[in-house]
C-alpha cells in the first residue's frame, strides 16, 4: 500500500464515469450564472465549501470505518434533490466496479452486495481509499478536489473556455481546498464517536434547484 494509490484514485482517467457529470456547471452555464473564468472560480468556491465539504467528510468517515449504511443515509439527508441523489448513486455504482477491480477487498464486496443500486459516491470513494490503504485525509482531498475539478473541465467544454484559465481557477482554490480537507477529517473523527449526525451539512440552494431543472431537459451534454 502506498500514497501513490491516491494518484490512481484521483486521476481523471480512473474509469469511474465522472467525466459524464458537470457537478451543476451545465445548468449554471445555461442560466447565465457562469460566463467565464471568474464565474467558474466563484461557482467552484461555493461548491467546494458546500457539496465538497460534505463529500469529503463522508469519504473520510468511510475510511475511518463508520458504518457505510449510516453514511449513505446521512448522504441522502444532505441531498434533497432526487436528481442529485440518483446521480450520486449511479456514480457510486460505477466507482464501486472500478474500485473492486483495482483494489479487491471483502469489505467492498459486502457493500456492493448491500447496495446493488449503488451507495452515494463519496461513501464508495472513502471505502475505495480504505481498500487502497489510504488515509482519511487522502480521501478527503480526493473528494474535495473532485467537487471542483469536474465543473472546471465541464466548463471548458461548455463555454470553450481556455483550459489554462480553468486550471488557474483550480490552482487559486488550493489553499481553501487544504482547509476543507482538514475540516472534513476533523468532522469525520467526531462522527466516529458521535455518529454521522455530527457530519457537516453545508448546502447550496441553487445547486439543488438547478439540478432538478437540468434533469428535466430533453437534451443535455452532461448527466448532472
Amino acid at each position: 500500500m502506498s500514497r501513490a494509490a491516491l494518484l490512481v484514485l484521483a486521476d481523471g482517467r480512473f474509469p469511474a464515469g465522472g467525466h459524464a457529470h458537470s457537478g451543476g456547471a451545465e445548468a449554471a452555464v445555461k442560466a447565465g450564472r457562469i460566463t467565464g473564468a471568474e464565474g467558474l472560480e466563484s461557482f467552484c468556491r461555493g461548491r467546494l465549501h458546500t457539496t465538497g465539504l460534505v463529500s469529503a467528510a463522508l469519504a473520510a468517515a468511510a475510511v475511518l470505518g463508520v458504518d457505510p449504511r449510516q453514511l449513505n443515509e446521512a448522504a441522502d439527508a444532505r441531498t434533497p434533490s432526487p436528481a442529485l441523489r440518483a446521480a450520486a448513486r449511479k456514480l457510486g455504482r460505477q466507482l464501486m466496479r472500478a474500485a473492486r477491480a483495482t483494489w479487491p477487498s471483502a469489505e467492498l464486496d459486502a457493500v456492493a452486495t448491500e447496495f446493488p443500486k449503488g451507495a452515494h459516491q463519496p461513501v464508495v470513494l472513502g471505502l475505495a481509499a480504505r481498500a487502497a490503504g489510504l488515509e482519511p485525509l487522502d480521501a478527503a482531498y480526493c473528494a474535495a478536489y473532485e467537487s471542483v475539478s469536474g465543473p472546471a473541465s465541464a466548463t471548458v467544454r461548455l463555454l470553450s473556455l481556455d483550459p489554462f484559465d480553468a486550471t488557474g481557477a483550480l490552482a487559486r482554490l488550493a489553499p481553501e481546498l487544504d482547509r476543507v480537507a482538514d475540516q472534513a477529517v476533523e468532522a469525520a473523527r467526531r462522527a466516529v464517536d458521535e455518529g454521522p449526525d455530527s457530519l457537516p451539512a453545508a448546502s447550496a440552494p441553487l445547486l439543488e434547484i438547478a439540478a432538478e431543472a437540468h434533469a428535466a431537459w430533453p437534451v443535455r451534454l452532461f448527466a448532472s
Binding site: 451543476g24 449554471a28 442560466a31 450564472r33 457562469i34 464565474g39 466563484s42 461557482f43 467552484c44 468556491r45 461555493g46 461548491r47 467546494l48 465549501h49 458546500t50 465539504l53 443515509e73 446521512a74 441522502d76 439527508a77 444532505r78 434533497p80 434533490s81 432526487p82 436528481a83 441523489r85 481553501e176 449526525d197 457537516p200 451539512a201 453545508a202 448546502s203 447550496a204 440552494p205 441553487l206 445547486l207 439543488e208 434547484i209 432538478e212 431543472a213 434533469a215 428535466a216
Partner: protein
C-alpha cells in the same frame, strides 16, 4: 468566553408550548410559557386546531442572545403557530454570535403547522439558527422558513441556519446554509445564492408520502419541489426579495397541501 464578559452577556430566553388531545375531539394547550422577549399568545382558531402567535416583545436576537422556542405536539393533537412580525437579527453590544433554537416534536397522529414570518439578518448581525424537528412515524408537519439577507439596500449580516428533520428516529433531512460576511467563500456565487437576497424552505411531512412520494417539480427559475428519502417533501426557493419568495412558497404550499 471568560468571566469578565459575563456582565454584558446577552439575553437567554425559552418559550414553550405543549398541545395535547383534550379527549373531546379538540386540542388543549396545557403549557403556553412566554419568556422575556418571546411572548406566546393564543389567538382565534378552531377548538380542533388552536392557533398560537409568537410575539416579539423586544427587538432581537442581538449578538450574545440565546433564544429557544419549543413546541411539543402530543399524540393526536393539532397546532398552528405563526408570528406577529418578522424577526430581525441585529448586531449586539457584545461581538458574539446570537443563537436561536427551534425544537419541534410531533407525536404519532399529531399535526403541526409552523409558519412564522421572515427572519431578517440586518447588517452587522451574526446569528446561528438551529431548527430540530422530531416526528413520530404518523405525525404530520408543514413548516416554512424564510431568510432575508439584509434590510432593503443594506449589506446582509452573517447567518448560519441548520434544519434537521427526523422521522421515527431516522434523519430524513439535514441542511445548513451559511451566508453573509465571514461565511465560507462562494456563498453569494453561482452555486449557492447568486445574488439572491431571500431564501426559503417549505417542508411538508405526511405519512402517505412514504408510499406515494410527491413528484419532483421545478417552480420557475428559483424553486423546486423535491421528494426526500422519507415521507417528506422539501421546497427550496431563492428570490430577489421577501415578497417574491413568499409568493413562490405560497404557490408551492397551495399545490402540496390542498
Amino acid at each position: 468566553m471568560d468571566g469578565v464578559t459575563a456582565a454584558v452577556a446577552g439575553v437567554r430566553a425559552t418559550a414553550r408550548m405543549v398541545a395535547r388531545d383534550d379527549g373531546r375531539g379538540g386540542t388543549a394547550l396545557p403549557v403556553l410559557e412566554s419568556d422575556g422577549p418571546l411572548a406566546l399568545r393564543r389567538t382565534r382558531g378552531s377548538g380542533a386546531e388552536p392557533r398560537v402567535m409568537l410575539v416579539g416583545a423586544m427587538s432581537g436576537p442581538l449578538g450574545g442572545d440565546h433564544f429557544t422556542v419549543a413546541a411539543d405536539v402530543r399524540e393526536g393533537a393539532r397546532l398552528r403557530v405563526g408570528s406577529a412580525a418578522a424577526t430581525i437579527a441585529l448586531p449586539g453590544q457584545t461581538k458574539g454570535e446570537a443563537r436561536y433554537d427551534v425544537r419541534l416534536t410531533v407525536a404519532d397522529g399529531g399535526e403541526l403547522h409552523w409558519l412564522p414570518e421572515q427572519l431578517i439578518c440586518a447588517g452587522g448581525s451574526d446569528l446561528y439558527v438551529g431548527t430540530r424537528i422530531d416526528l413520530g412515524a404518523t405525525a404530520r408537519l408543514v413548516l416554512r422558513e424564510e431568510q432575508v439577507l439584509g434590510r432593503v439596500g443594506e449589506e446582509p449580516g452573517r447567518l448560519t441556519s441548520r434544519l434537521v428533520l427526523r422521522v421515527a428516529g431516522r434523519t430524513v433531512l439535514d441542511q445548513e446554509l451559511a451566508c453573509g460576511p465571514g461565511a465560507p467563500g462562494g456563498w453569494d456565487g453561482p452555486a449557492v445564492l447568486a445574488g439572491h437576497r431571500a431564501v426559503g424552505q417549505l417542508l411538508v411531512v405526511r405519512p402517505e408520502f412514504a408510499d406515494e412520494p410527491v413528484p419532483a417539480r421545478v417552480l420557475g427559475e428559483g424553486a423546486a419541489v423535491m421528494p426526500l428519502a422519507g415521507p417528506a417533501a422539501l421546497v427550496t426557493a431563492v428570490a430577489p426579495d421577501a415578497l417574491l419568495l413568499r409568493r413562490l412558497l405560497d404557490a408551492a404550499l397551495a399545490a402540496l397541501v390542498p
